[in-house]
Amino acid sequence: MDFLRPDTLAEALALKAQRPDAVPIAGGTDVMVELNFDHRRPAALLDLTRIAELRSWDSAGGNGDGGTVRIGSGVPYTRIIDELGDRLPGLAMASRTVGSPQIRNRGTVGGNLGAASPAGDTHPVLLAGDATVEAASTRGTRLIPATEFYLGVKRHALEPDELITAVHVPVTRAPQQFAKVGTRNAMVIAVCSFAVALHPARQRVGAAVGSAAPTPRRASAAEEFLSAELTSANQWESPKPLLDSVKRRFGELVAEAANPIDDVRGSAAYRKHALSVLARRTLDWAWRDYSEKVT
């Protein structure tokens, strides 16, 4: 096995072009588990932790709605929570549920995307919040909408010579919520997870499920239903408490978007039921928060 240690992004991209079989490693919280258990023996590891460009974030377009934060793929969860919680509430919320302090000190959103596990904690938030994945190679840089990034179980839209360099997340002051089901608060791989994001400027709602289908995915029918419901009742301008029937229907549509399996963590039926509960509950939290902000 080779251990490749680039100091700059340009070097890393050149190495990845020469060695498309090299497995990128940053926080190591997924890759090292595979190595320790001999589940994977790559020809080379490509260490990204020496590359300063990947360990920073910057924002464009201001710190309010309309702005975007570009988070380098090597920024650990702890820093997202500490430094970006005010403007990326959903991503910070999901980051707080990742593993333990030790894992959050090392693990990165870039790694979550690279692993592309259906259970990855940040995926539903990235989908509901209209995030974009930045991928680079010696051929250039491109932006992939999160909705087009996940192709299958642990499969994603990167080409073999590409590296994930950043994720672009729209800034928002509007409520976002994330919830996940597991056996305890820490160290849990999601049985199922759900994210909701209110986009008042566009009169839209984003909703996405995790750990409940071969890929993380948006609950498009639920988004359409709720967005239409809120707009037709003029709820964005003068919010009123949501009807139970609306919340229930939203939950049902979220559950219908899922296509879960029975496995050691839970049954398919349980996952669907739990998702409908999470959807109702998180929508309720987000909507109360929105109503308080507007009135």
Binding site: F3, M32, L45
Partner: protein, 161 residues
């Protein structure tokens, strides 16, 4: 490959390190520092917790090659000569040690917490130690130890009385 790393303040060098090897293996098997414990090898138990450039991490999830030119501080590096760190003393006195296997990881995690938050609340202690499993104590004595260490660090006079 060769790895150069500063461990507990001393420059160390290891040769013939396998490229897929963990920092934990490097510490225990090549550098003679068995304080960090090897249990789950997947970041679930926290027994291998060390500082990497002042940040607590699971050393089983750090590739040995990633610590080149960096600083590692293990549980062996917390005491000042024969004088235990207040966190270590508090663990002994509060009965927070039974079989002792999880202790090094918990001591490092608690040490980091008290550096960041000198007087942590109980929820803060629980959150900070959520990545460390103990199968003996039921955790209550560990919480006692962290509270005791916090009190003593805040008032070093009390510690010597």
């Amino acid at each position: 490959m060769r790895v150069n790393v500063t461990v507990n303040g001393e420059p160390r060098q290891a040769d013939d390190v396998w490229e897929g090897e963990s920092l934990l293996f490097l510490l225990r098997e090549r550098l003679g520092l068995p304080g960090s414990k090897n249990a789950c090898e997947q970041g679930e138990c926290g027994s291998c917790t060390v500082y990497l450039d002042d940040t607590p991490v699971c050393s089983c999830l750090v590739a040995a090659g990633q610590v080149q030119d960096r600083e590692v501080r293990t549980v062996e590096g917390l005491a000042d000569g024969d004088r235990l760190d207040p966190v270590q003393e508090a663990f002994v006195e509060a009965g927070a040690v039974q079989c002792g296997f999880c202790t090094p990881g918990l001591v490092v995690a608690a040490h980091d917490l008290l550096d960041r938050v000198p007087r942590p609340s109980d929820p803060e202690i629980r959150e900070a130690l959520a990545g460390n499993l103990c199968r003996c104590t039921g955790y209550e004595k560990i919480l006692d130890a962290v509270r005791l260490a916090a009190t003593r660090k805040a008032d070093p006079e009390a510690a010597s009385r």
